[in-house]
């Protein structure tokens, strides 16, 4: 009886945590891609907003009928913003922190402004959940893990797997990591540092845009101001927790999503603790995702400090440092 209850709770948590963290997973893989080549883009919050609002515009103003194309529009919009960011920080070598924050602000402002007349309107074009067939229907376990929209599987399995293979199993990936660790050395052996940083910054931005697109085309599915609500910052945090490794980033994002869905589940089921009013519990649970993310960041550094051997959890050595040949 008790076991069944726990299993039930776990499955319903997993079932809602997976979609809740998809945005963070997508943005975090983008951040990972940026940071592996040494570019720190703090503008994730803005990129998610831009990706989301342009997907909404694609559907509602340009009457795009396919969620994939709407998502592509959002990704392209975010990529353009990422290109502007990359131009400033990679080519002009401006401070990545300042321009990144500017992108966060500008992106939030731009997307909220563009979305002003679209608040709360339901989005008609949505991703459909995959349905693997009738025989899984009654099974809670399969329901929790199988019945999601296609972008979820891309975000959790396909993209991280590809990223892992690219980074750790190909020569090109080794060059990428070299650009993030020691751009001067990479440059000396003929790796094109500037192009690599430009390209992957834009690609990373597009992934954050895909996260925003997923929000409005599937998760919410409607536009509301400040759509990212901190998910962009969580994505940046998750990558630190992950020690810049793709599948650990997925795990970190799930941790966040688990906390979010804990709040949702608690409210839906009216969980009540004797000493706390349900309302107070809800308030507490709404700060938990950010608290847990904060603690998660501290884990790798803390573990390394108390002598646990953790495989390379350090940031890429040249992270957030512009590279110019003249400085060598």
């Amino acid at each position: 009886m008790m076991l069944a209850l726990i299993e039930n709770a776990f499955l319903s948590l997993a079932g809602s945590a997976i979609p809740a963290s998809t945005v963070v997973v997508l943005a975090a893989t983008g951040v990972l891609l940026n940071e592996r080549v040494g570019v720190m883009n703090l503008g994730q919050e803005g990129l998610i907003g831009i990706g989301a609002v342009y997907s909404v515009i694609a559907v509602s103003s340009w009457s795009v009928g396919s969620p994939w194309i709407a998502m592509l529009v959002g990704m392209i919009a975010a990529a353009v913003a990422g290109l502007v960011f990359a131009l400033f920080v990679v080519v002009f070598k401006a401070s990545q922190v300042l321009v990144g924050l500017a992108l966060a602000l500008g992106g939030i402002g731009l997307s909220n402004q563009l979305g002003t007349n679209r608040n709360g309107t339901p989005i008609q074009v949505q991703f459909q959940e995959v349905n693997p067939g009738g025989k899984f229907d009654d099974n809670d376990f399969f329901e929790a893990f199988l019945f999601h929209e296609p972008p979820v599987y891309l975000a959790y399995i396909v993209i991280p797997a590809f990223l892992w293979f690219l980074l750790f199993r190909t020569r090109h990936g080794m060059n990428m990591r070299a650009v993030g660790e020691n751009p001067a050395a990479a440059d000396a052996v003929g790796v094109r540092v500037t192009w690599s940083r430009l390209g992957y910054t834009v690609l990373g931005a597009a992934l954050a845009g895909a996260g925003g697109a997923y929000m409005v085309l599937s998760f919410t599915p409607t536009w509301s101001p400040d759509i990212a609500r901190g998910r962009g910052w969580v994505a940046l945090a998750v990558v630190i927790f992950a020690g810049w490794r793709p599948f650990r980033a997925v795990a970190g994002a799930l941790l966040y999503g688990g906390m979010i869905s804990l709040g949702v589940t608690a409210q839906a089921r009216g969980w009540d603790l004797p000493s706390l009013e349900a309302r107070d519990l809800a308030f507490f649970l709404s700060m938990l995702p950010f608290l847990v993310t904060l603690i998660a960041i501290l884990i790798p550094a803390g573990a390394a400090k108390i002598g646990r051997r953790v495989r390379s959890t350090a940031a890429p050595a040249a992270l957030a440092t512009p590279y110019s040949r003249e400085d060598r």
């Binding site: 803005g46 002009f92 321009v99 500017a102 939030i108 909220n112 950010f290 904060l294 003249e326």
Partner: protein, 359 residues
């Protein structure tokens, strides 16, 4: 035909850098104005209306100064950490926690007003510093990047304030209002003004003290050395970790005190979900604009506070608050590019040749 070329300077002179940042900000404002024009808004009219709103009346000037207090406090906090190349992006959270602590004291303690206000100020400073404790320890001893940790705590602080104002400290007598009970004590008014209190003096005093510390004391020198090169600082015998910890806690305390000052202005007095109108963000931009020079923070703070106030006034005339966010972003980019530009100089080719020959 004289050819020019861009040459890199070995070191950017601080005066050049400051000028370049200001030029960057001015160009950014022009770009923002052009964008407003392109989107069919009359930028000139907005500009004149803003100037009129600010300088047209004593109310306007006082309105700017009133907003300048929280912005200056968070800006000073950010600027102090920037001297050490530490980014405190969590000043908004520390500000809120300061206000949170101040409300807690103010609505639960009774006694002579001046005493309660002092206790509130001390508690707010402590709360702001405490909110910085985990990021500071993590940065100082575990080398955990402080940008993300301080920022995440902003979200926690916002939620905590919402919780307090809708639940445990909620004003139940006015159940419609979603805020805490009001604190009955307010700071003394500034003579000759209608809405300002002595709170205005606090950022000025703190700026002066910080300026003096960095001009004349070993502490200030050590902090600047750490900002320049932490490894060299540690070889020189400076206790780098301890300094990082103490400076970060101090910045948290300053921002926290800002929360108390904001709370004890007549009319504010209660804490609700909209208590901090992103003051930490404005403060960050001020500090970046000023390049962490404390005199510059005062000037930049007035500039951003004017913009903030003008934005509030113009909001009633259909300019959305989102546009202000966008303009902030453009200004920040302008400042960052100005910093880069200061590292280069434009020289005429023939002069360069003579310089080279002389060297």
């Amino acid at each position: 035909m004289t050819a020019y070329r861009v040459e890199r300077r070995l070191e950017a002179n601080p005066r050049h850098a400051a000028l370049a940042r200001i030029y960057g900000a001015i160009i950014a404002m022009v770009v923002a104005g052009l964008l407003l024009l392109l989107t069919g808004r009359n930028a000139f009219q907005i500009f004149w209306e803003a100037l009129d709103a600010i300088f047209g009346s004593q109310r306007g000037i006082e309105g700017v100064l009133l907003r300048a207090i929280p912005i200056l406090m968070t800006a000073l906090a950010v600027a102090l950490s920037l001297r050490m190349k530490v980014w405190n992006i969590g000043s908004d959270g520390q500000f809120l926690m300061g206000a949170f602590a101040a409300v807690g004291i103010g609505i639960h303690m009774s006694g002579p007003g001046w005493l309660i206000l002092i206790v509130m100020a001390v508690a707010a400073t402590a709360a702001g510093a405490l909110w910085m404790l985990v990021p500071a320890l993590a940065r100082a001893y575990w080398d955990v990047n402080e940008i993300i940790t301080t920022l995440l705590l902003n979200f926690v602080a916002v939620q905590l304030v919402v919780w307090a104002s809708l639940s445990f400290w909620r004003d139940t007598e006015n159940a419609v209002i979603q805020s805490t009970k009001p604190v009955p004590y307010t700071l003394a008014g500034l003579p000759g003004t209608n809405s300002l209190t002595i709170a205005l003096l606090v950022p000025l005093i703190i700026a002066a003290v910080l300026w003096w510390i960095f001009r004349s004391t070993t502490t200030g020198y050590e902090i600047d050395t750490i900002g320049g090169n932490p490894r060299a600082a540690s070889f020189a015998g400076i206790r780098v970790r301890f300094r990082i910890l103490s400076v970060m806690l101090t910045t948290g305390g300053i921002a926290g005190l800002g929360g108390m000052l904001q709370l004890s202005a007549p009319g504010a007095q209660a804490l609700g979900p909209g208590f901090s109108a992103q003051f930490g963000l404005s403060g960050f931009i001020v500090a970046a604009l000023a390049g962490a020079a404390f005199g510059g923070v005062l000037v930049g703070g007035m500039f951003i506070a004017s913009m903030f106030f003008a934005g509030l006034v113009l909001q009633t005339k259909g300019l959305s608050v989102y546009i202000i966010f966008g303009i902030y972003g453009i200004i920040l980019t302008g400042v960052a590019l100005g910093e880069v530009a200061a590292r280069y100089r434009l020289v005429r080719q023939d002069i360069l040749a003579t310089e080279r020959a002389a060297a």
